[in-house]
Symmetry: C2
Subunit: 644 residues, 2 copies
């Protein structure tokens, strides 16, 4: 088993102002492209580049989001503000990457710009080219020989494409590593790789350009790898008793198209082929100021960096950028009602696209539900003689959930909203480990460091040339006026990070703000001169702050497949721009060191991390002071009592 | 507002062995003392020290828990193992602290030992002596003058007792500081102190031994300090919709006396006047080994250290050890059904005692309930051509909850059990801030550091003698063979801590163990030569490991009021005892830096921290692989569908 570290970058653009937020018009300017709009993009591009004479594949078709000031103006005066409706298409046309912006407002969509990307890095992979690449070994002579030599059944071989990273080459072709697995006896392919093979496919040539068989390593047994219920034998257990949730007044939230109202919150649920779920324009109603106040302009997962911790040939290259290379939207899976989300959930569908530009529906891509959330606040007063009392309020939270499955791992992404003003994004990991084939039946046979279940994650600097990896450590700095000041590792030392608006004060003069209560820091394990770490340099710190720039969306760069780390958060901030009293973006890096254990086999129980954006002198006082506990209801037929 | 830091020490004695756990006999040897047993302790002590001729007050009456090996033997063979039943009473008799052990097995209780404590430090305060001390100022001339001078109404003054700490004195009397508050117009006394006064009461003399009026500082206004629902005016909001929970098959847990069975878990709920809730003998059923396996011998909050961060006369002394000075059990409050715990909760009562040794009931001291707990594990398989599928399991968790209110703060303590083997203790903070009176209406009036809403918690070393405080910083070390090796700050650097039994291996040879996934470290803010930090030295690291010793229960010492830090975890571990391959105790320190914000006024929304004890090669594979999702049930009358 190779251990992995998942580092997730949340980007949250936060700002505070006091304009009224009005209800949504039917067409919200941040709504994702409709099926019809995706088709118009495809047709428009194909009109310019007919497929009869061009090799054309789409790697991104999404909303080209309008300028922020226009969105904010629209939010204030939706009836009198015209917002442009544009799409961005990223297509590979005759092996060149095109960025095409299309105006969707007119009946006939118009190409506004068409630029060729000439730098390093390639767009998100399409599903079709992954399918084509993974079919190649099955008809490739040397691979068939390797399979035979191992005594394996070719008809049970299943292959998968893996981005191959960057390790210092001056230039790259658009290649992927293909790894193959055994599908016989169990569908748990991920734990049964055919190890010892290097298969490199050039996606433009769509041919195997490098093949190596480094020798036979036995494929793991299929025993105990099955996890489907239909293939399990009794006894089942432990038994879990059912819980039914009933909301006699119905749910407390309303979804109108993509706009959500719940309790004192309003926000927009967007969906992007690359980012997946996007939360925008979150504002909270201030009971004392009698108006909605903006909290979050836009929040989403900007990148997910998954560097496996194993320097050997089978694994060293596995330094994935799941959002940029595979697409969090493209990899979003349908939620299973009553299981992935509770029975009181409502669901939203989404559309992504395939390589031909055809819309692909994802039914139940997002769910929204309310959940009992413990105690909101309480106090038992015993300090006043003869006048003891207790005041306690029960809390209901709102959760927005989506699940992204990239290969073996399932990422459960929850955005939790609290009436007290907090937003708590969480990411939890489940799914299956990727297993490395080693010829070892018992741990006693392990002689040197086999990159197995390590309980210490100490940095190891590789000096003997046995790997392309190097290593990592970092120290802490403090907050303030410029981008460099804001590069910090919060949580390592006493300190709190608040994002404040020095132009807005509370009644008693505190700066209006929100505080980041971070997830426990997940320290990178690579040296900062290691190639994967150059590409994933956003993990050098867990907090970054930049001045808002509409084009700085992807912490690992727009073109992250084979990127050289030239377009990253770490590079942008080298300008050390002024952030004081600016419209800023807060980037928070959170992560999970997944050191595998036997409990993760054959499928792993959830491992979670979360952080909190908590109002801190944003309100003049406790914003839920006057919130009643939900009325207590009993099952019908039982006496109904009401308490507050 | 003075900022506080709450550092909680959880002590978890973990061990792994493979004996069968049998069901409980009616009288579990770890059951708390019954009301009748408390009375027998009182009568037995009073027989030796008649109150007619002795000043006698009880400061602790609790179970003197049996030796661990006897408990384990009883657990294996309850019908043939005789377990002693003994009580420990700590009483102050004629100003001397007695530790009296009483045998409760015989009809006539017998005093087994009676030792006088002659070192530094005093027992937990009794409620009665706090009441007596806080009544003193109201009839004390100089105090009445101070109240008059301030134009305040004496009949609205309410006082409270605060332990006064230790600041280097060679010897201490048993004194408390008394602070008084205004109760007129609002019961939120904590935000309305009468500042500028020093009132020191000697508890043995029960008289004011020091009084100082340092000058008038206005008492804060009562405006907006009210939080009782009955005194709030409309509009209320935001509105929360009700949720009813129905369990058609009833709850999934059973409580027999103090023993809980739920899904694959069994454990015992104890209750101690000092520790409050105690979880013991937690074992989990292994579906593959067909037996219960021990996980946790005993888990409880050993101490809670609350050093306020304000070096001035009104606040410097506030360095509370809430468990040892006020008693977590004595300060446990009754839970409000349907509000503090959901409607599907079951409740346990508890008994503590008063200073005269009379039992005091705490109805609904602990609640136990099941809660929908997100996804247990899942995977959507898209890598196998033409054979996509999804497997997902919904999770139900068990929560054991208790709430401890010490003065202004309410501590909500949850122990969460997961069928996947994790135990997740959490502590959340609510209640009311303690406010310092300052003559400031707006933040602009603040000239120097007023210890208000600081967003940076940088250590400040006090060198000008203006306070008795000094300061803090620490570095990191690594795990292993002796107590010194195990003093670490986990979370500051890449690393994972597993507690393993090297004598027990999984089938493939990994050491059987549990891993600590820590809460985000709460770094102490004091220097290690500062007196409060000497007493609270257990916060120097967030992980400590000691060899099991039945007497080492309280990380801050048995007698913590006025303690000099001579009987602490930091002192015990100076012996640097061997911990390798021993029966060990894991101590984890977690904390909440509470930097107050206006949202915390007049009562603060919950602020939480939690950690996870997660099986790591404890099981041979995922222990919930064959757990079904709870059957889906709909509200009666709706079509009932079943899914797994």
């Amino acid at each position: 088993m190779a251990s992995t570290m998942k580092l997730v970058l949340f980007s949250a653009l936060m700002f505070f102002s006091f304009q009224a937020v009005v209800s949504d018009t039917p067409q919200h300017p941040l709504n994702p492209l409709t099926s019809e709009e995706i088709i118009r993009v495809r047709n428009t591009v194909q009109e310019k580049y007919p497929t009869s004479s061009n090799r054309l594949s789409f790697h991104y078709i999404g909303l080209d989001d309008p300028e922020k000031d226009i969105i904010l103006q629209w939010e204030s005066t939706p009836n009198t503000t015209t917002v442009p409706r544009k799409a961005l298409a990223i297509a590979i046309i005759n092996s060149q990457t095109h960025e095409i912006v299309i105006d969707l407002q007119k009946e006939n969509a118009i190409i506004l710009s068409d630029n060729i990307h000439r730098g390093n890095g390639f767009p998100t992979l399409s599903v079709a080219e992954q399918d084509n690449a993974t079919a190649l070994p099955l008809t490739y002579g040397p691979f068939i020989d390797s399979v035979k030599k191992r005594g394996l059944n070719l008809s049970e071989v299943v292959c998968s494409a893996f981005t191959s990273g960057w390790f210092g080459e001056a230039q790259n072709n658009r290649t992927v590593r293909v790894e193959c697995f055994m599908n016989e006896s169990s569908p748990n392919i991920w734990v049964r790789p055919i190890s010892g093979l290097t298969i490199l496919v050039d996606l433009e040539l769509m041919t195997i350009v490098e093949y190596e068989d480094r020798g036979i390593i036995p494929v793991a047994t299929a025993n105990n790898t099955e996890y489907r219920l239909s293939h399990q034998k009794p006894p089942f257990g432990p038994k879990q008793h059912s819980q039914a949730t009933h909301q006699p007044d119905g749910p407390g939230f309303q979804i109108s198209n993509h706009s959500v109202s719940w309790a004192n919150w309003k926000f927009h649920i967007g969906f992007d082929p690359r980012a997946g779920l996007v939360i925008s324009l979150a504002s909270i109603y201030d009971l004392e100021k009698h108006k909605s106040r903006r909290v979050l302009y836009k929040g989403y997962i900007s990148e997910l960096f998954v560097p496996y911790q194993d320097p050997t040939d089978d694994f060293y290259y596995k330094t994935f950028f799941d959002a940029g290379e595979f697409g969090f939207g493209l990899s979003t899976v349908s939620l299973v009602p009553n299981l992935d989300c509770p029975s009181n959930a409502e669901f939203l569908d989404a559309y992504v696209h395939d390589a031909s530009g055809t819309p692909v529906p994802i039914p139940n891509a997002v769910c929204v539900f309310e959940q009992y959330g413990s105690i909101m606040w309480r106090h038992t007063e015993t300090g006043i003689p003869n006048d003891s009392f207790v005041e306690t309020r029960t809390e209901v939270n709102l959760i927005v959930r989506t699940i992204v499955t990239v290969g073996n791992y399932d990422n459960i992404i929850d955005w939790k909203f609290k009436t007290s003003g907090s937003i708590i994004p969480a990411i939890a990991l489940s799914g299956i480990l990727e297993i490395k084939g080693v010829d070892i039946k018992h741990k006693d046979e392990i002689k040197s460091d086999q990159h197995g279940t390590l309980t210490s994650l100490k940095t190891v600097r590789v000096t003997d040339g046995s790997s392309k990896r190097k290593s990592y450590w970092t120290t802490e700095t403090e907050t303030a006026k410029s981008e460099n000041d804001a590069k910090i590792i919060i949580g390592n030392a006493p300190g709190e990070l608040s994002v404040v608006n020095p132009n807005k004060k509370t009644a008693v003069g505190n700066d209006v703000g929100y505080r980041l209560i971070p997830a426990i820091p997940a320290h990178p394990l690579l040296t900062d001169d290691d190639y994967p770490q150059i590409r994933g340099a956003f993990t050098n710190f867990n907090v970054w702050v930049t001045p808002y720039n509409r084009t700085e969306k992807w912490a690992g760069g727009l073109y992250v497949d084979h990127s050289h780390g030239e377009d990253t958060l770490a590079v942008w901030t080298q300008k050390n721009r002024d952030i004081e009293n600016k419209d800023i973006v807060l980037w928070h890096v959170t992560g999970i060191h997944h050191v595998p254990a036997q409990e993760d086999f054959p499928i792993m129980p959830l491992l979670s991390t979360a952080f909190e954006l908590r109002p801190t002198n944003f309100f003049d006082r406790n914003p839920v002071l006057k919130t009643l506990s939900p009325k207590f209801v009993k099952w019908p037929g039982c006496p109904n009592t009401t308490t507050h």
